[in-house]
Assembly symmetry: D2
Homo-oligomer: 455 residues x 4
């Protein structure tokens, strides 16, 4: 691939998928901090190319085993490409208070790397949305045929990917970083007393606070005092925040535009965690079809755009969120099967307008239903995490039940999964090969006792 041509895109961040994260031409990073220096510079209007490793930096392999998932080091995610400094045509950098409009001109897998994976973490190692039901490390490998993905581990489905970067964001200012660290620390310290969802998910960390473990800081040399300081302060990349980050919006594909607030000079744009496809919610956590890949981007700087377009929704002017524009190029499906959940949990307990509980129940309902068509529940859990299904908040006001829905496009299956009124189906239900790479769960926590539990 040529690095630069007059009309093509300029490659500003190359990745060699055969090499390890530490061996790449430009250094990666896996934390948010204003002092991680930019490794590349782009001008507004130019189309440039950024390549990226998969979120694990190659730690999760293409082999048919879940051992790599079971022992994955969650402290080193996500390997990001950048930061990229953005200036206008005159070389004047983006400034705090500006908006950075980033258009996704093109994106896809790296040539020769047309594969990805979807996985469930072991319950003791982070788990996922349904970790109390599915505690065992499990993995499915997907192969791509152009726009389509298929998996030997979840036979009978094939779907076009709505490819997108899971993470795209600007660097936080020190002031914003402090806000993040303080509020997440407060949650970590006080959360156990008051939170209900964690009764269900109680082995999952409440927040992922700064940690020097496995910290990678781009050009900053490990072991230096600067590294030590930044590593102590820098925010983890796991949650989405005011700077964008891990927003996991599955429709951010070709032709989309992202309006990111700028907090530091040059904006310091970073991106990573490419997904070939993802369902709304990415429920299995490591749950999109994770892959390495490339983005072709074009930036505009909207001077003072934060004040013009974003209104702080919190105590400081920094409490803002990005805005997104989604374009006309998407796979569109004409028929959907929709599963509903209400905010009553598996124990039968009523919760008050809790959309997270309602969505959990909708996903569990969908898993149970679809598993009737020849799949294990783990297969469906992985599938609903990565196929283009839509998770909706349908009702959020009719106390006490929030109503959430999960809509699954029926065309992704090679059989008709709709309910049939006649007792005799048109054909025997297909028996699928249930062999999916999976590890034993050795933890101590009990698994939810209800009909949907994995068996």
């Amino acid at each position: 691939m040529a690095s630069s041509t007059s009309s093509g895109s300029r490659l500003v961040f190359p990745i060699d998928p055969k090499k390890k994260p530490g061996e790449q031409k430009l250094p990666l990073h896996n934390r948010w901090h204003p002092d991680i220096p930019p490794v590349a510079e782009v001008k507004t209007g130019e189309v440039f190319r950024v390549e990226m490793m998969d979120f694990s930096g190659g730690g999760i392999t293409k082999y048919y085993t879940a051992e790599d998932i079971k022992h994955a080091d969650s402290s080193l995610v996500h390997y990001l490409s950048g930061p990229i400094r953005v200036t206008d045509a005159d070389g004047i950098p983006a400034k705090p208070g500006d908006l950075l409009a980033v258009e996704i001109c093109n994106l896809g897998p790296l040539p020769g790397e047309e594969w990805g994976f979807t996985a469930i973490f072991d319950r003791e190692n982070g788990g996922g949305f349904l970790t109390d039901h599915f505690p065992r490390a499990t993995k499915a490998i997907w192969y791509f045929e152009g726009i389509y993905a298929y998996s030997p581990h979840i036979p009978g489905v094939r779907f076009p990917g709505l490819t997108h970067p899971g993470i795209i964001g600007t660097a936080p200012s020190m002031e914003l970083l402090n806000i993040w660290n303080e509020r997440e620390r407060t949650l970590e310290e006080t959360g156990l007393k008051s939170l209900k969802l964690c009764e269900v998910l109680h082995s999952r960390p409440l927040a992922n606070l700064p940690s020097a473990k496995s910290c990678v800081l781009g050009k900053i040399e490990k072991g230096t005092p600067e590294w030590e300081k930044i590593a102590r302060e820098a925010a983890r990349t796991i949650p989405g925040r005011e700077n964008g980050g891990n927003c996991d919006i599955k429709n951010l594909s070709r032709g989309s535009k992202i309006y990111l607030p700028v907090f530091v000079e040059g904006a310091n744009l970073s991106t990573g965690d490419m997904h070939f496809s993802q369902g709304d919610g990415e429920v299995a956590f490591c749950g999109a079809i994770e892959m390495s890949g490339f983005l072709e981007l074009k930036c505009e700087i909207m001077r003072d755009g934060m004040k013009e377009y974003l209104t702080p929704m919190g105590p400081t002017p920094l409490h803002v969120n990005p805005i997104f524009e989604i374009g006309p190029v998407e796979p569109r499906f004409s028929e959907w099967l929709v599963f509903e959940g209400i905010s009553v949990d598996e124990s039968g307990r009523q919760h008050f307008l809790d959309a997270s509980i309602a969505y959990k129940r909708a996903v569990l309902n969908a898993i149970d239903y679809i598993s009737k068509f020849g799949y294990t529940k783990e297969q469906v859990y992985l599938l609903l995490s990565c196929c283009p299904c839509e998770g909706r908040i349908s009702g959020i006001v009719d106390a006490p039940n929030a109503v959430a829905t999960l809509a699954v496009p029926t065309a992704i299956f090679d059989q008709d999964i709709r309910p049939k009124s006649n007792k005799v189906p048109t054909g025997p239900r297909v028996v699928r090969n249930p062999t999916i790479p999976q590890c034993t769960y050795d933890g101590n926590l009990p698994i939810t006792k209800n009909p949907s539990a994995a068996t």
Copy 2:
């Protein structure tokens, strides 16, 4: 309208919109209970027509005032049409354990009643999703021109309605009704201690427990011992539950199919709360374009379908949810502007993977943004409650932030609401007429102090 023809639909539940609820030909009801007797009977395969009042039974008027909203009696909602007993072609009724497949063949407003309303309840009278920001009773009237709705109170928008019934459900069995009442009572009694969302919404009732006040029970005569007993036990219609009910799924329009569990002999189908259009979440509570209307339905009975297709997700076999099928006939938009929210509330406090908080912030972000284009915040709140916007759970696993998004189709506006990179807009921003019927808020509760608060 002829009541029956060989090829047309048979009218089984007529409504005269000029008359009051108590004056209709067939009696209405506003509670769920197995002992409310059916008032009509249909056979599988026949297309039949059900007409319905608006949810308030005409209590909310077409006049340009919000006084009727301010003093609305929330104990009498929702007026439902039915119950309708369903039998198969041989006259054998639907039985507990069956699935009732209800296809929506057609639906719309009643002739001559091509109007509706969207409203915010006063904070002291139920409020809505953002009641701490918008405490004042407010109302907008909408007029329909075929598939389109427009409002003199929210000028500059016009959109096709994705018309649907807010409520469709089967009667619960006594066993299921007891489960509902017990779990909702438990919430009401213990909720205040443990719930976080209610810190924000603390003037809203946690649940709406059975109450004889304004109770309407169809053929059951008021004042009889039977009425007294049922009124004490019957569930309110406000939340969606295992029987369907107030699920507010905005895509249940023409050509959709609903698979409802059957809990009593004959299924006892009821429906009401017609919406000309609604946004995901129906955030203003009385928040769709509420109207009277009609449904043309066709039923199938899937014998033993509950066991075949639904898996209980709780301690009893009754803990199920309906399944829905959505068809190919919808307005589809090519461009969307997407607002994001994370589970950090307006005070800056971090919550753990709370999709309700995240969605609240997404909606607040959207309101603030769109209000820059010549609207008051109340106008936008009402608009986002009733226009065909999509509320998504984008990320529910990246602790501690749930990411919710609200996607607004840009084509509903008569101006381009996308961010512009050039400082000088192509035209002056339209100054809209802010005169919207609204009452004073006389309550004692403080309004949220943040930039998005109503002024």
Copy 3:
């Protein structure tokens, strides 16, 4: 149905489907002429309702016989509702040179008349696009279940209708009428020498010239000198022309807008020939799902709009065509099977960039292919004439072959009609009931000898 309410639409042209054309409250007409007087008047901005008979005025029945088709009197089509005079809010009528913007707010079948028919005329009585292959009068009856149509005569298909008026147009001026009559007479007189398509369709009339036979002229009393004069001059309604008319654009459904040129004072809008659904081309001639029905319309007058927006494409300023706007509410299908045709006819003869021949071959290819799935060719011919299939001109420049395509949405079938690579199909091909009402062909003309000919 109330005729008028404050917010509903005003009924300006009522139809009683139980009565004959001559017995309706307002007189119908079946010709275009400037002197047919208006029977109703509307103002710009008001939503009004026009009801209409089916194109045959009830001549084609709902009985399962094709005898009515075989002996249909083609000289009396199409019964139109109108003319309607349009004025602005001040009562000033539309004037020649204006554009009349007509929005279709709503439309559908008449209550109790939820059925329609699709038919092939006998070759001796008008035939259709493929009359040399299918010379026998044939009819299928369709029933509507809300938005869906199904037919006992073409089992295994069901589709949502994109309902539209086949005919909508303004009255021609005398000058325009003279142009029509002259050019069509010239064709009739000189055509046989030079036209190639008619070698194939040689029993079809080349044009349908004015004729007093079965002429119906609204308020003009039959037998008067005025009637005689108009009947001699008035244009038949069969072809679409500069005034709109029988344009058969299948996407003119709810939310569409039609910009019609105005040739006479008041515009004199007429409409009729309602179609529940139609495929591009309406190949069977009587080929949509023909029905009675209603339109709810709203008009605007764009003063001097013809000059502003239309450019004459011919020797006079009257040689213009209407413009149409199509809205977002349509059934959309995700998968299509596409059949191709090139401008080589069934005898193997090459034609020069002839899109009509190419489309004919595409339709014949589709008929042959789909008939492999358990249908007779006549059934498929009728189906492709009325289902929402798309007829495209794909290539019109690559001499000598025009390439036309016919795209059929696969979701309308209850079986998978795509080619399968494995020899053993997933199930036996369904054997459909071929009993479709059909008459014998008694004509003298030979039927095309090729594999697709009806047998």
Copy 4:
């Protein structure tokens, strides 16, 4: 770009866009003949990559001049990549009578070559669909930003490309080739007497018969007797025919599947003429956005599939056409402006159900209308030739007028091009820069005298 990896696609036909056709690693060809030997071989099931030059082999340049268009050698189009021999997994080749299912997994421009052109040929050099109106050689250059194209020569429009190969086909057998040559020669010899469209397009060749001029035959060495024989017999690539070929179906993009008949052992698949985007009809002839590019394909062999799925539509079993399947991934537009044409030509003469004439008038109407928004007519002609507009055969039975429509998605313009009812537009109409590369027309033929003629 790696040529082969375990999971990526294997590059079987490489192109270096910096080199001339004769300098490529594998030889190209520009004729159809059974004896052009395959240059590569693939197995069913494998994903392979084929690169291709633009149709002119680099003859048309990226420079802002139309001189290259004016003097283009039309006898050398189109440079194709292939033939590719296809075998099954056991190495047994495709055989005559099989169907070759070719899935388009992916496609796009070559890296570094993100540009294309759209052009009008000089009337004396081939012209186009509207050559009598637009006789001058004209060219627009387009640049790609990911999925979007924009042109400095047609400012104010930008649209996502529905990229597709203009040509994909199998080699004809000698028997089929003879049929082609005979029928096209007959047309050439007898056509002038009987054809009407050519009265209008009379400087265009009726057919493009075999010619040794500029003939390129892959591995066959020029000057050998074999070369001479093949060059005399081989069919030109300009029209689409029974083998697929230049079908110019604009929706054959990612995820599509093409079922091609096999006429020779190995199928001998060739492809070329990549289009970044094209409108239905490709009216300007050199009218798509022409570019070099790549395809990633996957083949299946359906043994005896011709008999199973294709029915000959002519005197021999070879008179068949391919079938196509179109997938769910397309840009979809919600609003369209539709222009209509009827089969009356610019002189006012009536033609009988002639869809080509009707489409011509629809295109002319669209050109005139859109040119009111600041464009020259040539700019619009080029635009409608290459943007994703849809050309439909709306009515083909209402004698004497065929009705064709051209639907243009309004979202491709940066201004609202819909008719406005108020006289004062919301802003001044944009004055576009009319500087588009164009040559003088020096021919002798008169240009059509009507209001739409180029000035």
